[in-house]
């Protein structure tokens, strides 16, 4: 029984160390949030500044939550840690929807100008497309996730081609106003979108709560999961749909930014070195919040909006991706 007295402290020690790391990250998130709200604020216009900054901050936190959670779930479901939910093609679908709206209705139409309507259009269209396309594909391919990835990549270029065709025949002025919505940004957010997306995410988590609890087992692979009495195919299908919808919410809120998922999910895995998804997801979400809030702080105050945050994320993410490829023994 000497083995006992030796292991249990180890297991709890590792878990406690991770809990401590997560607590430190939570503090960093709060610090970044506080800095974002308070840096260079003019006390005379305090409430006005807050009315601008608080909604943006909340949007960033929600986006980080959706992307961070979805990325970990997606990687675990695919059983590969260098994939990102970008591969499902939601980003290019978003670009296509926006281009199509401007092309058909014009940049002055209510569909393009009103943030709420535009958000609702994005979400409904992406949600329907995701459910139909992926729901159908999972059945058709017998839940082979590799086919789903492949088809996602094909769809990405398919949507991209249609979009670029549309922009070629578009009025240049329209294109100019369109371009600003195709790059991830946190300007022009409005609080009703926040409520809307929170409700969607809450419903998503509630519906998937059982499947999320199975994530630890699902990553043992199909045979082991079935051996342990889990309905693997059903859970995988539901989780992948959840991932697509969560990414749809994040993309509709802030634009195509889900490449960030690759960075934050892997940072979380590297830092926590655990299989427990409750901790991994939390770590990923915190990393996302720190990167987005601190990044936006720099964008606003150092570069004074000259460079959008997505540029930082793409450059940083690209370098990190190469680092992952070069340092991993197997992929």
């Amino acid at each position: 029984m000497s083995a006992n007295t030796h292991t249990k402290p180890y297991a709890t020690a590792a878990r406690r160390a991770n809990a401590r790391k997560l607590a430190i990250m939570a503090v960093l998130v709060l610090a970044a949030a506080a800095a974002y709200l308070l840096v260079e604020v003019n006390p005379r216009y305090f409430s006005y500044a807050m009315s601008l900054r608080v909604p943006k901050l909340i949007v960033m936190l929600i986006a980080a939550f959706a992307i961070g959670g979805a990325s970990i779930v997606f990687q675990s479901v695919i059983n590969n840690i260098i994939v990102t939910p970008c591969l499902l093609g939601m980003n290019s679908l978003y670009t296509l929807i926006h281009t199509a709206v401007v092309f058909v209705a014009g940049s002055g139409s209510i569909l393009a100008i009103n943030a709420n309507v535009s958000f609702a259009v994005d979400l409904v269209l992406m949600g329907i497309a995701a459910t139909l396309i992926y729901g159908y594909l999972f059945r058709k391919t017998n839940h082979n996730v590799l086919y789903v990835l492949l088809i996602g990549t094909v769809l990405t270029s398919f949507f991209g081609s249609i979009q670029s065709t549309l922009t070629r025949v578009m009025d240049p002025n329209e294109y100019d106003s369109l371009l600003s919505t195709l790059v991830a940004s946190f300007s022009n957010v409005n609080s009703e979108i926040i409520l809307f997306s929170l409700v969607v995410l809450a419903i998503l988590i509630f519906v998937l709560r059982r499947d999320l609890a199975l994530l630890d087992v699902l990553t043992l692979g199909k045979a082991q999961a079935i051996n342990l009495g889990v309905d693997y195919d059903r859970s995988i299908r539901r989780l992948l749909l959840g991932v697509t919808l969560a990414i749809a919410v994040a993309t509709a809120m802030v634009g195509p930014i889900s490449f960030m998922g690759l960075i934050i999910a892997n940072l979380s895995r590297q830092l926590l070195k655990t299989y427990r998804h409750s901790q991994l997801i939390l770590g990923s979400v915190f990393f996302g919040m720190i990167i987005l809030v601190a990044g936006q702080l720099i964008v606003e105050h150092v570069y004074t909006y000259a460079i959008p945050i997505s540029v930082f994320i793409t450059v940083g993410g690209g370098i990190y991706f190469l680092y992952l490829l070069l340092t991993r023994r197997r992929i």
């Binding site: 083995a3 180890y10 840690i81 045979a223 342990l228």
Partner: protein, 250 residues
């Protein structure tokens, strides 16, 4: 546990064709046969990992498809060849997954005791805090077996457990299989490529050829020159060591 008229087709070609046999309780049964004979597919269908096209798998009086997967996971465990675990998982954490059917991830002190026993049964105490991906093939295989032991099922199905193991580790694995049966009273069914392991360590052998059962019987009944050369289309000599028939093929 009984298998009746089990059939599986891929693209219209039957890989398993009308297979019927009964699994002797509390014994070790080895499924052997050449590549593509259908033994792994039969194993997959018995364990509900592969859907069958026709036939019946009768488990305790009820067809296996009618069992709740969760109930079945308390009575039947399967270990396949492909175990690429990408997670950062320690040996102990892996073994603890064996209790998932009972505790759904929230292990009680009772579960922890069973995990301890499984680890010590497989002599994994020195490694229990090591990550799975840092272990050698033999150690990893033992960790997987420990997980199956923690799952505490009457039936244990092993798909080529000696695959990718050297002679030392493969022989140890077969001794473990024997102990699972003799000491813990498990019914073990395994798919094997190495005929002599099947001959030396099992009670019954079921030999497949072209998706059909070529011969089912005790080790002595199956391990004859005639049966083996018919199944494998190779010349065989049978000799006896420690009262057990072993084959030489060339």
């Amino acid at each position: 546990m009984k298998v009746q008229q089990l059939t599986k087709q891929y693209d219209g070609k039957a890989v398993v064709d009308g297979v019927t046999f009964e699994i002797p309780k509390g014994k070790v049964l080895s499924l052997i046969g050449p590549n593509g004979a259908g033994k792994s597919t039969v194993m997959g269908m018995i364990s509900r990992l592969i859907a069958r096209d026709a036939g019946l798998v009768d488990f305790d009086g009820r067809d296996i498809a009618k069992w709740k997967s969760k109930e079945l996971s308390k009575r039947l465990a399967i270990l396949t060849q492909s175990n690429q675990i990408q997670m950062k998982l320690t040996v102990r954490e892996l073994v603890a997954f064996g209790r998932f059917p009972y505790s759904a991830g929230r292990n009680t002190p009772e579960d922890e005791t069973i995990i301890d026993q499984a680890i010590s049964y497989m002599e994994l105490e020195p490694f229990q805090d090591r990550f799975i991906d840092e272990l050698s093939g033999g150690q990893r295989q033992r960790a997987m077996i420990a997980m199956v032991i923690a799952q505490d099922t009457e039936y244990i199905l092993l798909d080529e457990p000696t695959n990718n193991l050297d002679i030392y580790h493969a022989t140890n694995m077969m001794k473990i299989v024997r102990r699972l049966c003799d000491e813990l009273g498990k019914t073990v069914i395994l798919v094997l490529h190495e005929i002599n392991y099947a001959a030396f360590y099992s009670d019954y052998i079921c030999a497949f050829r072209d998706g059909k059962i070529a011969k089912f019987g005790t080790v002595k009944e199956v391990m004859t020159r005639e049966v083996l050369s018919q199944i494998y289309q190779v010349d065989f000599e049978i000799m006896e060591i420690e009262g057990k028939p072993l084959s030489i093929y060339y």
